[in-house]
């Protein structure tokens, strides 16, 4: 009988790659890789705790990258989706990729490969949405501050975009769902965690944390948003399709709608 084994890793991407390494080492055709804290042992399965090992993770990363650059991107994006049991699907995907002589990352006739592609696409869309929907508010300390609550864990993906674009201003993007954020101090981007007493949504009430001018500009922006609308072309369905309601509470132009 083939052994089934549950591999429990720490939740980091490197941890996951290490788990893949161990699974390969033990020649597991099916690896039940689970995130710590979410793991459930099987009735007859052994459990092994995986200690993240950057070197092993690197070897897996390089191995896949040699096969296909598109695949490595898909794997990282899909991993960030945090879907339940995504690890098992990813392991299946990696085995498929490594087991085939030609580059099978584009084999869209395969269910698993198509599925991974579609999930990676969704995460990519969320990344793009965050690049669009983040609204900085200027604090009295001169830091541009934004709260977000993305569907997927996209902070690592958007860091470079904001670093390149807002190189001459300090900014913080804080994920209130996952309780960590990015802080750019004019030199480099750091991962931070904050003790937020309040979540800064687009409330009509003014917070003392922000400058007065900040509210003037929000006001101007909301005004602009209204005047650029053409009333005779109104299409609410299309509007909410592009700007789904779950993002509204962080958009200053949708203050009144929330």
């Amino acid at each position: 009988m083939e052994t089934t084994k549950t591999l429990v890793y720490d939740g980091s991407f490197n941890g996951f790659l290490t788990a893949v390494f161990i699974a390969y080492e033990q020649k597991l055709s099916y690896a039940d890789i689970q995130r710590q804290g979410q793991n459930q042992g099987g009735l007859f399965a052994e459990t092994e705790i995986i200690f993240t090992n950057v070197e092993k993770a690197q070897r897996v990363w390089n191995g896949i990258r040699k096969k296909s650059n598109a695949a490595i991107k898909n794997i990282y994006f899909t991993f960030l989706s945090e879907n339940r049991n995504i690890e098992a699907l990813l392991y299946h995907y990696i085995r498929k990729l490594m087991g085939s002589k030609i580059n099978s990352a584009t084999n869209f006739s395969d269910d698993c490969i198509l599925k991974i592609n579609q999930i990676a696409h969704k995460v990519g869309r969320e990344k793009h949405r965050m690049e669009a929907f983040i609204r900085f508010q200027l604090t009295k300390d001169g830091v541009y501050f934004a709260n977000i609550e993305p569907d997927f864990d996209v902070l690592p993906l958007i860091s470079k975009h904001f670093r390149n674009r807002y190189a001459d201003q300090q900014w913080i993007i804080y994920d209130v769902k996952r309780k960590y954020g990015l802080f750019y101090d004019l030199k480099s981007v750091e991962v931070i965690s904050l003790d937020l007493t309040e979540i800064h949504t687009n409330s009509l009430e003014k917070s003392t944390a922000f400058t007065d001018e900040e509210y003037e500009y929000q006001n101007l922006w909301t005004n602009y948003f209204k005047s650029t609308n053409i009333k005779s072309r109104i299409n609410t369905k299309l509007h909410t399709q592009h700007v789904p309601k779950r993002y509204w509470k962080y958009l200053s132009e949708k203050k009144e709608a929330v």
Partner: protein, 419 residues
């Protein structure tokens, strides 16, 4: 800064600028220099108005004072509306502050024509120059080329702007004579031609000298009003093709005419905006630019207008049934792209997927092909396919019957009994 006064101006001048449909912020390659502010990339829509249009740029007029009296335009001189004008510094401040808060990708600056074309163009350039040189702003700037502006100014504009555009507005010369009697067709063409030549020059010089100053890296675009002068879809698409071919346009935009005035030359107030028609024109535009169609395949003397009920690719396929059915597993890319219900994303997936195995209906469905249309035109690795010898009219009615178009309420001309 007097925020109340700015707000007033912003309301007037954004309202007047909104009929310019272009809001693209892509196609440029400006990077952030010396830790300054901003860069450009693939374009981001930061918000969408309630009419569903993208908000990517701060789109405003410098002023809505205008010496022209074009019937289709809100800011025409005979129109009794509030007038306002921004100072250069005010536009700069607004742009920078909106940009820093991640509201926008950059600035789209247009203007009514005051004093003369050159005078207006100079002011537009001054804003762009200030943003680039004083604020170290590397975001997107779209400037309007003012019809009749001199070559020297058009050259200078391209040094600061990412994109330049002149709106041709009326697709036919006769229509222009009727609606904008003081404007001259040649005045529109002049800056367009200059920009085109400068872009070619820039590309040539860049091959030799790497540090040639950028000239309008996102190219130029134009816009046509649809449904103001009774022109046919053929007129519009043929003149669009003319601009794509002869002026290397990046984009031609189609803007359904929004009735704004009482004028016997124009559709009356309250006429519905031809949004469906606009959509069909964009679909045609895409077929020409990305799907390998040429304009005379879709529109010709016998078929001067697009079918509103079905998309233009389906319309073409129904007229050319002799090309079908296409074998999904054998056909080349060119032919795959011509199957109704198959987009370029699916074409790519089909081409890749079929290297590994023969594709069947299930594969196609999962890849995202719209089988309700495609199934009449393809065979795949299945014994189950459309064998009946259906004629075009029959296929058309079967597709219409089995699909729910979001535009349905717009093209049923029949009056509903209860409403």
């Amino acid at each position: 800064m007097d925020f109340n006064r700015i707000k007033e101006k912003l309301n007037i001048l954004a309202d007047a600028a909104k009929y310019d449909v272009s809001c693209s912020s892509s196609g440029s390659n400006r990077t952030n220099k010396n830790n300054g502010l901003g860069n450009t990339g693939n374009g981001i829509c930061h918000s969408y108005t309630e009419d569903g249009r993208c908000v990517s740029l701060l789109k405003i007029l410098l002023t809505n004072h205008c010496i022209f009296d074009c019937a289709y335009c809100v800011t025409r001189k005979s129109n009794d509306i509030q007038r306002a004008a921004f100072k250069i510094q005010e536009v700069v401040d607004l742009t920078i502050n909106f940009y820093r808060r991640n509201y926008i990708e950059g600035l789209f600056l247009s203007s009514g024509i005051f004093k003369s074309a050159d005078h207006t163009m100079e002011r537009l350039i001054a804003v762009a120059k200030k943003l680039r040189e004083e604020e170290n702003f590397n975001g997107y700037i779209h400037l309007k080329s003012i019809p009749g502006a001199s070559d020297e100014l058009m050259y200078e504009a391209g040094l600061y702007a990412d994109r330049l555009s002149v709106n041709i507005e009326i697709p036919t010369i006769s229509g222009l004579k009727l609606l904008a009697p003081d404007k001259n067709h040649a005045d529109f063409i002049k800056p367009m031609l200059k920009v085109k030549n400068e872009i070619i020059r820039y590309k040539e010089e860049k091959k030799i000298i790497k540090h040639t100053a950028k000239y309008a890296p996102a190219g130029q675009s134009t816009q046509m009003i649809v449904g103001a002068t009774g022109e046919s879809d053929k007129d519009i698409m043929y003149s669009a093709t003319h601009f794509y071919k002869n002026y290397n346009m990046k984009r031609v935009y189609y803007s359904g005419y929004v009735p704004i005035s009482m004028d016997s030359r124009l559709p009356s107030l309250g006429t519905e905006v031809p949004m469906l028609r606009e959509n069909r024109l964009y679909q045609t535009d895409w077929l020409l630019r990305f799907y390998g169609f040429s304009v005379n395949e879709i529109l010709d003397a016998d078929n001067p207008n697009l079918d509103m009920d079905i998309d233009p690719k389906l319309m073409w396929a129904l007229r050319n049934l002799n090309f079908f059915p296409v074998d999904i597993n054998k056909a080349d890319k060119h032919m795959l792209a011509r199957i109704p219900g198959v987009g370029m994303g699916s074409v790519n997936k089909i081409l890749n997927g079929r290297k590994f195995r023969k594709l069947d209906w299930d594969h196609l469905k999962k890849m995202g092909v719209a089988l309700n249309r495609a199934k009449f035109f393809i065979i795949c690795n299945s014994t189950d396919w459309e064998r009946r010898d259906l004629d075009a009219a029959r296929i058309r009615s079967m597709i219409l019957q089995n699909s729910k178009s979001k535009f349905k309420n717009q093209y049923t001309n029949q009056l509903s009994l209860f409403n």
